[in-house]
Symmetry: C2
Amino acid sequence: MPKYVDKDARRRGVAAALRRIAAREGLEGVSIRTVAAEAGISAGAVQRDFPTKDELLAFAFHDAVDAVAERFSRIRIGPGRAGFAEGLRAVLLDLLPVDDERRAQARVWAAFYARAAVVPDFARTLADLDGLSRTALRAAVGYAVEQGELAPGLDPEEAVELLLVLVDGMWLTAARRPPGASVDPQRAAVDAAVAAVTGASSREPRR
Amino acid sequence: MPKYVDKDARRRGVAAALRRIAAREGLEGVSIRTVAAEAGISAGAVQRDFPTKDELLAFAFHDAVDAVAERFSRIRIGPGRAGFAEGLRAVLLDLLPVDDERRAQARVWAAFYARAAVVPDFARTLADLDGLSRTALRAAVGYAVEQGELAPGLDPEEAVELLLVLVDGMWLTAARRPPGASVDPQRAAVDAAVAAVTGASSREPRR
DNA sequence: TGTGTATTGATACGACTGTATCGGAAGCGG
DNA sequence: CCGCTTCCGATACAGTCGTATCAATACACA
């Protein structure tokens, strides 16, 4: 039969267009028409791929969540991989918006994050992501305890919660960084975070 | 001459109405008409107080920033006041959304925060707030160093940056907490943060 | 090559947006 | 009590929103 088209690929393309707009002007600038224009197709085409705007937003959101989850899962901390301090440092540095792509991604994240404060579905998705990060961090912190790399006074479970909050803070602080500003303060925060959680010194050894 | 009205008071009232809406449905639900209805006045009256919507948003934002700044400045850490650990714990616990008012405030904050990722004026205001917090934290950390309460390996300047990020993370994580959820994870994060930064133990001494 | 169906762009609709304009209500100085 | 100035609510306007509808198009198969 006639005229077939790769639907999933185009759905992802439309979602990417939405994120480009969201990175530029926030979720407020996102409409069926603007997204269609950014994607280079007509508004009618967008309507067919996503019958309603909520579905479009939800899809783009889940796509963004997946991208962030993938970014985290790329760095595994544990036996045979990176040590705890190095791994933690890598995760946190990965959130620093050193290039435009990462800065754009952070701004999109901030937009969706704010929506999660108001739309329960979004909040649930972020809570799920928390769950994933929690188990990953639990494993990493457990490994740190084995290696004696966790700061002596820290309760492992509590350390996991601290790191969760820290990651959110890094990511969102990054979102509001103006284009020309220096990343040094954030780099300092990363150094301090690694030092505080591992109990090591941030002054002499590394850098 | 005729008919006088307290303009500033009503401007604040309108801004408060805006924030109530923002806490409930986000900045997307904010329009001249909805704000007017929430404030119990006509749309024309809002227009007189705020000729343009941007001015209204900016005013409400600055009001919210002032409220947050005031919340922080209420707790002074230093000689004669609270010790560093207690003061830090108090600041962080103050961000926990234990009541509805605080949760609403956090959601409003998230909305404005996301806008700061996209509107340079908002970003500048938050950067100014960072400046304020930075000097306050510098004093507190300096005091901690004197008292030997700072974790031994931590660079004071870096510790300040870490705390800045941490506060943002606490506040924004709070914003997306569903109404019924427990605050225990966040309380754990606070305990860990205090322990990690002071170098003390989070297991036995306090709690 | 013709045919039938999946896809498309355009157009229509009602609701809502921000903003401008304006006639009447309201209150104080005389 | 009057006049004048400030305030207020309503209405008007052009634009955009999300969504529905529909004729025209483009393609795979016979």
